[in-house]
Symmetry: C2
Subunit: 495 residues, 2 copies
């Protein structure tokens, strides 16, 4: 932003605040600087931007009113659910409006006969499961943050979770949405049917990280609660063995509900934090959960156990009851936070590789770690090759943060090099836009831009996210000034 | 087309023919009128248009050359696989090029470790299964035409099949594609990973019926061959009972691989054609197939049998071996053709309703039939509410074809009225474009058009399909003349 533009932008925001306060009520609009700072980041806490205005609409109409007002004023907007995202997808825009959906928490309908729930975007992921439980159903995708993350945020980021190995990602569970395009037009996409007629725009909206518009209602699939759940914890000498066991299980045609791996450093952190009591001396553990009809689970369980033993598991425990099952998961679920016990700072990375190169990539990560002196703990969804390396560092040691960020980036390069992807379930957001050209050609990115510009020619919906460089959409010459939007938005990077 | 434009169009085609013959070889280009007529329709045989030119590229480069040449000449193009589609999606354009993919039949890679196959678009659906079988895998979506239909056509129409109840449609099995946009640019969408980074453009391409471009390579998921398959044939007094049994089975959380229903008239036709020996006196039969681990199949089988008995099944047969299993399926698979034994002409309809209103909608169809004197046989995917009413008529009786078409349209209205859709798996194509406004609002259709125009501003990719009225994409004023493109293309409707 140049100095000359600042007064015009401020005046646009002042006008918007007045207009939206009248339309939505005084409580729905925040423009006090101290209160605005509450919203300066999402789960990717090292990027911080204070928004110009925060709006908390009480219903879908309020969202439409806000988007229309932004469109008319030419002011950018960013949608935010619970703010738990790990890629900075909900990072505010310094000259824009942050539309917070946390008041849109109505469960519109639980329809067990058609196995669907219709909810507002601010509804918490786990609350859908709670509402459907009485009828014997649940909502399958389970990000680690499922107790606090919103379904709208899940849709925007196409969130995954431990049980997505068997059940699929958010995109496999959203069958319909009411959607507000950046010009304020309201569109219905899909519905309760498994697959809609016409272009699958719903599929393109899921995972678009708020760059195409805002959803105001979501229809999701409900899954029948399984008859039986069995959970196994296996200790291995190292990640090679655990990786080979993973490949063997999947190769045998067994698809566990979840198949999670932790390496020695991650186990150490978890033990320090929650005393999970994993097999002593394990270089890696696997948590394998099977669910389904009891007869199926029993048959598959024997097969999983056999493959674990054949690939060097020296201790296998089977959860006798829900309490023991929870104790297996406690170490895994606490792992991200637990590394705080063994390192003052860390980066949560998210990359994907084919299962078949698991051992090789883990070796290369270990080499990187040795060469740089930066420790890396690995906790991840082994079954679908979705790595979550935790890159540990101490920000008080000069230069260590930069080295950690280099290691983190080099891990993504390893993923790409091995035929994988720069994100499995956390999204591109603010954090990984710069990595997109390593994975996609110019023609690929231009083609994505076709969709962006079709929906959002003025670049108002979550600008600066996903794409590495701002591109002009033909019709709006001079709209973007060519500066990197993150710089333009005045981001304070901690690193 | 006005008289004045005809010479210009003819000259454009002549130039294209010359250019493509030089580039692709003489055998790859057909412009002889008699030979062109071979391609005048697809599986929807009552719409016929002779294309101006047919091109049969030998490889992906040939497809790119053809699309680029069309773009430069401003000539429309239509892609065609095996021509088995039932909605006229591959109906040629009278002034356009038909790009036939039948020479692109290379299976590039079978990758069992990652459970993927990479194939050219002309590869026959069943040939993927044949190629993967040695490794214990198969390709799950199984249209009735799977012995002859191509994977490119399956992708374009997002084809279904009897076993898509459990395994999902084509869109759930395509993870990557190489795609030629209407301007000739080649883009890679997705890959072998379960879910790609960036916008899900691949999802939008699947089911876009050739209106966004042409695929030249497809990566599909391979599914492990099941350990056990069990098939049950149940005779019911009528469709109400069979429908209630269907709802009960699904409601109990059992998802059979397939769950198919035939009514009395469909059974009569099948008996006349293939003597399938279904239970005598049945007003409806259900074929239920379970697959998976043997232990699971056995447990679920008992449950299915129980629900069938509870809802009035008077005879239940269990296939003792593959031969008996094939005999159960013979009646179902022959049903479409079999109605030729009991009626000189028929329309195959394709609509979707929530399972929960199955009985009601079948009653309403029966009423329609009674009121109009037009017989309707029902053969369908009961498990996912995908109806295939066969509307019978005699074209030699004046007015009967029109009445049949009215009944067929009224059935779609019933589907929409009950919260369903105008197509489950056959696509919109030429046949159902006129029904789109009954299902979608103006804003919904405009939003789909955003995508169309982003990819194909000149309207060259399969024009006249899917959308009810041609719309101008801002930048190309006067391109379409405002006439309905089907009329414009000189369609001869049999009805």
């Amino acid at each position: 932003m140049t100095i000359d533009e600042a007064p015009a932008r401020r005046s646009a925001i002042t006008g918007l605040a007045r207009r939206l306060r009248t339309a939505l009520g005084p409580d729905a609009v925040i423009d006090d600087h101290q209160r605005l700072r509450t919203y300066e980041c999402d789960g990717l806490a090292h990027y911080k931007v204070t928004p110009a205005l925060v709006v908390l609409p009480a219903d879908a109409t309020g969202v439409v009113t806000t988007v229309r007002a932004c469109a008319e004023a030419g002011v950018p907007f960013v949608a935010r659910g619970s703010g738990t995202g790990l890629s900075g997808g909900a990072l505010p825009h310094a000259d824009g409006v942050l539309i917070v959906t946390s008041r849109l928490r109505r469960i519109v309908e639980i329809d067990p006969a058609n196995q669907r729930a219709v909810v507002e975007p601010g509804v918490i992921n786990l609350d859908i499961t709670r509402a459907a439980g009485a009828d014997g159903y649940y909502y399958a995708p389970d990000p680690s943050s499922q107790q606090i993350c919103s379904i709208g945020g899940n849709l925007a980021e196409n969130s995954g979770g431990a049980h997505c190995l068997k059940y699929g990602f958010t995109t496999n569970h959203v069958t319909g949405a009411e959607f507000v395009a950046p010009d304020g037009e309201v569109v219905r996409l899909g519905g309760k049917a498994p697959d809609a007629t016409g272009y699958d725009l719903l599929g393109a909206i899921v995972g678009s990280e708020g760059t195409l518009g805002v959803v105001t209602e979501v229809t999701v699939r409900l899954v029948r609660l399984p008859e039986a759940v069995r959970t196994l914890l296996a200790g291995f000498p190292g990640t090679d063995d655990a990786g080979a066991a993973t490949s063997a299980v999947i190769g045998a045609g067994v698809v566990p509900a979840a198949m999670e791996m932790m390496d020695a450093l991650a186990i150490e952190a978890a033990e320090a934090a929650v005393r999970c009591g994993y097999p002593a001396g394990a270089g890696a553990v696997l948590i394998v959960e099977l669910d389904g009809p009891a007869a199926e689970v029993d048959a598959q369980f024997a097969e999983v156990e056999r493959h674990c033993r054949a690939h060097g598991a020296f201790e296998i425990r089977i959860a006798a009851d829900d309490a023991e099952r929870a104790s297996f998961w406690r170490g895994r679920k606490s792992a991200f936070a637990a590394v705080g016990r063994i390192s003052p700072d860390y980066i949560v990375q998210d990359g994907v590789i084919p299962r078949t190169v698991l051992a090789e990539v883990l070796h290369r990560i270990a080499e990187l770690s040795r060469d740089t002196g930066i420790r890396v703990a690995n906790v991840f969804h082994a079954g679908d090759g979705n790595l979550h390396p935790l890159v540990l560092f101490d920000d008080s040691v000069p230069g260590e943060a930069e080295r950690a960020e280099e290691v983190s980036g080099a891990i993504l390069d390893l993923c790409i090099e091995h035929g994988g992807s720069i994100t499995g379930e956390h999204g591109v957001g603010s954090d990984k836009a710069k990595f997109m050209p390593r994975m996609f050609t110019e023609a690929d990115l231009d083609t994505m831009q076709l969709l962006r510009c079709a929906f959002d020619p003025d670049g108002l919906a979550n600008p600066g996210k996903v794409f590495p460089t701002p591109r002009l959409c033909g019709e709006v010459p001079g709209r973007h000034k060519g500066a990197h939007p993150l710089q333009d938005a005045g981001i304070a990077e901690v690193f």
